[in-house]
């Protein structure tokens, strides 16, 4: 079977107090499911790679085919942990190393 190509999305959470990692991932899953349905969500291959609750940043791993849908779903998120929020995609890359280097520069 051919290996799935993946992309890593660096996210910045614009919210007063960031929720826990599990709550955050649930919120992302929920938004993706509402927007593209369960079949679409199952193709996304979503995984939370890193989560910094204090720095309000996260790194999500998604399948390449679902990058646009996940990006839209993340943009459509307006509430996190019961508070008004926005989640912005800061960078997208094929490897975590390149993503972190891109963020530093």
């Amino acid at each position: 079977m051919k290996r799935q190509k993946r992309r890593y999305l660096a996210l910045r959470l614009d919210v007063e107090s960031a929720p826990g990692d599990r709550d955050f991932l649930d919120a992302v899953w929920s938004s993706v499911t509402r927007l593209v349905g369960e079949v679409g969500a199952s193709l996304a291959g979503l995984a939370l790679v890193r989560y910094d609750i204090e720095g309000k940043t996260a790194i999500l791993r998604v399948n390449l085919v679902a990058v646009d849908n996940v990006r839209a779903a993340v943009a459509a998120m307006t509430v996190l942990g019961g508070k008004a929020a926005a989640v912005h995609v800061v960078a997208v890359s094929g490897t975590i190393k390149a993503l972190l280097e891109g963020l530093k520069s």
Partner: protein, 244 residues
């Protein structure tokens, strides 16, 4: 070439300069260069001047825009006569079929928008697009409803948008995607707005054009027309000499 991103539909509260400043700061932080805020037809030149100054302080290119909600065709024509030279962008919110048709064929109208909640009042069909393709009007979509709606209402809205955007593309109408928001927390980055546009059939470059090239070209074209040297499309005064 680096894209210049534009949000042609911000809603600011003229009575609250602090909130306006926050909104403009956020717009700049998210990567927009050109921003238009909607004024009512009764807006005073002083209000527009103040907002222009606030935008230039932040580093944004301000565009004055008026949103018209005429009740009839005559109402629309009278408003256009009165307001065309005062604003850089004119958007007509089409709440009746007569108004929608008149707005589509009038060269003075820049953007057509339709009420998002009532599917029966969305008059953007093939006839409307054909008329608009002969004029200058583009089709405007606000992404705010995609953020605030949920469930079947959002599904219906997306369905209408997908149909309308397909018609607009078929007739080569410029599609302009704007935010339509008044709170900073609802603002999204240009590429996120483009990703949201992908949900209703604008994919890849077309979605990015809808937040950059299409609105920028519209603004530049209108600025050219409003400039002192403009005579007619394609003709402008380059230099004035003395009569011999």
């Amino acid at each position: 070439m680096k894209r210049t991103f534009a949000d042609l539909h911000l809603r600011t509260n003229g009575t609250d300069p602090t909130q306006t400043k926050k909104l403009l700061d956020k717009v700049f932080e998210l990567g927009y260069t050109i921003v238009a805020t909607s004024f009512s037809p009764q807006a005073k030149p002083e209000e527009i001047r103040q907002l222009r100054a606030a935008c230039s302080e932040v580093g944004l290119d301000f565009v004055s825009r008026v949103d018209l909600r005429p009740h009839s065709q005559n109402d629309l024509l009278e408003m256009l006569r009165r307001l065309r030279r005062r604003f850089e962008v004119i958007c007509v919110s089409c709440e009746s079929k007569d108004v929608a048709r008149q707005a589509a064929k009038d060269h003075r109208v820049d953007l057509l928008s339709f009420p998002f909640l009532d599917a029966r009042h969305r008059f953007f069909d093939r006839a409307e697009a054909e008329l608009a393709s002969c004029g200058n009007a583009g089709f405007e979509v606000d992404v705010k409803p995609l953020l605030v709606l949920d469930g079947p209402t959002r599904v219906r809205f997306l369905s209408s948008l997908r149909r309308e955007v397909a018609v607009a593309l078929e007739f080569h109408l410029p599609v302009v995607v704007s935010s339509g928001v008044s709170e900073p927390i609802l603002l999204r980055k240009p590429r996120e707005t483009a990703a949201l546009a992908g949900l209703f059939g604008l994919a890849g470059e077309a979605a990015l054009d809808a937040v950059s090239t299409n609105p920028s070209e519209l603004v530049m074209r209108n600025r050219g027309k409003l400039s002192a040297g403009f005579v007619a499309p394609g003709i402008r005064v380059v230099k004035q000499g003395e009569n011999l």
